[in-house]
């Protein structure tokens, strides 16, 4: 919202000679986004993530290099675009973040609580100052790993697996959750993401049932958020949307979060993955 205000101010100041028609506003927003795209601080997170993957950590003093992200132990290239998927060892459908938490437990010996304690990083000036996962100056190992692993799928086609019955169930449940309206504002995901070409303030909203929109949305998370000075993951995106929907807190790596991500990944199937991206 803060950046939107600034942007609105910039637009008001620099566009007096243009017609105030909506299309011009839209064009300026696009130009602003392209300007942002040119240098992306996500690279710093990616570099840290690559290092962390190889670093021995935890009670077992082990690295994550044998972690199976779905394509076999240690295979990172192309793993992100094939997730979420069913994993026989846990008996669950997992996205990247819940899978990394599993590997931190099984390979590095952390407790499940430790593995999930700080899923989102909190440097810079977080928009949500009471976020328990954040603390100014604190980084999230999870976020760094996600940045690097996602970057290893850049340019690849989004192709989640929805053949196993549990994957199918996660997808169908995710679809229902997308349409689930509740809370004091009657919101659901569909409130903001059910129609084409809509905005909240100046922020464009993807219609998630439209393949092109879903591909662009799914294909650009994780993303570095300029307004927060932080890299944010897909789990964070779900958590934050759900907060704004006035729902109770969506638990990190919960089944509902994974079902929603499975649904979105499937909607985005066939798109080109281009993340970590840069966001407003």
């Amino acid at each position: 919202m803060r950046i939107d205000r600034v942007l609105a101010g910039v637009l008001a100041a620099t566009l007096p000679c243009l017609s105030p028609a909506q299309q011009d506003t839209q064009k300026e927003i696009e130009r602003y986004r392209q300007m942002l795209q040119e240098s992306n601080p996500a690279e710093l997170y990616e570099a840290r993530g690559e290092e962390l993957w190889k670093t021995r950590r935890g009670p077992r003093n082990a690295s994550l290099e044998r972690c199976d992200l779905g394509l076999g132990p240690g295979v990172v290239k192309g793993a992100y675009v094939r997730l979420p998927r069913y994993f026989a060892d846990t008996g669950r459908v997992q996205d990247l973040e819940s899978r990394l938490a599993t590997c931190m437990v099984t390979l590095q010996g952390f407790t499940p609580e430790e593995a999930r304690r700080k899923p989102f990083s909190g440097t810079g000036a977080p928009m949500i100052t009471t976020d328990p996962f954040s603390g100014v100056g604190q980084r999230s190992v999870m976020t760094d790993l996600v940045a690097w692993i996602a970057s290893e799928s850049r340019g690849m086609t989004i192709a989640p697996s929805v053949s196993h019955p549990k994957e199918r169930l996660a997808y169908q449940a995710g679809e229902r959750l997308f349409y689930y309206r509740a809370g004091p504002y009657d919101f659901g995901c569909v409130t903001c993401h059910g129609e084409e070409g809509k905005r909240i303030r100046l922020q464009n909203l993807p219609k998630m049932t439209n393949a092109k929109d879903a591909q662009r949305a799914f294909g650009t998370w994780p993303g570095y958020r300029v307004s927060e000075g932080e890299l944010r993951s897909m789990q964070w995106r779900m958590w934050e949307c759900v907060r704004q929907m006035r729902f109770p807190e969506l638990e990190f790596a919960s089944d509902a979060s994974i079902a929603l991500i499975t649904y979105l990944a499937k909607q985005a199937e066939g798109g080109t993955f281009d993340a970590p991206a840069i966001k407003r």
Binding site: Q172, A173, K198
Partner: protein, 207 residues
């Protein structure tokens, strides 16, 4: 491969295919999974309790009929929601448009990160154009610029406007707009200020 193995392989493939079809989760299985997730994947934080996930009739019907809303369901929702509207006991439907503008600008309220004691805003600009000056407006709802200029400010229009903000679903079942009065997001007085913002001759909405 031995020729005699081919029928066996075909049979096995057939088995996989049938199993594949049979294992596609049914609607009731999906419903059970969703109910389980609603129960297990969320936790109360601050004012946002897990009880918020329990749907009322309108929420349940709107979720169920998200694809297309049958006429009888939509009529039923509107009738039930109409009956919830409470007009101010003072009889005064319109307040101060300047207060209304502040409420329309504010998007806080009811999030677990919001102080429960702080009054909620109306988040109006999040979804609507209202005044000409505010360029940062959303488009989920229609533009309300010149709302009063086009409709006047008769008592009937005031009543309609108050009712629309109080319970949007009384006139449009499953509207994206929150039922601000019915769900206790905005107070009676706050709603009267928003009515003024929309209808007052001096409001920036009608300039």
């Amino acid at each position: 491969m031995q020729p005699k193995m081919i029928p066996a392989l075909a049979l096995a493939l057939c088995g996989i295919w049938v199993a594949g079809c049979a294992t596609r989760p049914s609607d009731s299985e999906t419903e059970r999974a969703v109910a389980e997730m609603i129960k297990a994947s969320f936790k109360t934080r601050g004012q946002a309790t897990v009880a918020r996930l329990n749907q009322d009739d309108a929420q349940a019907l709107c979720s169920k009929h998200a694809g297309e809303l049958p006429k009888d369901v939509s009529d039923g929702i509107e009738k039930a929601q109409q009956a919830t509207i409470r007009y101010p006991s003072s009889g005064k439907l319109t307040g101060d448009w300047r207060e209304g503008e502040r409420i329309a600008q504010s998007g806080v309220g009811k999030q677990f990160t919001d102080a429960p004691t702080r009054p909620a805003g109306g988040s109006c600009y999040n979804c609507h154009q209202l005044s000409k000056q505010e360029l940062s407006f959303g488009t989920i709802g229609p533009s309300l610029y010149q709302f009063g200029k086009q409709r006047g400010a008769s008592e009937a229009i005031q009543k309609y406007t108050y009712g629309k903000i109080y319970n949007s679903q009384a006139s449009t079942a499953c509207s994206n707009m929150p039922r601000f009065g019915h769900n206790g997001v905005l107070t009676e007085e706050q709603i009267t200020h928003l009515v003024a913002l929309l209808l007052d001759h001096d409001s920036p909405v009608n300039k």
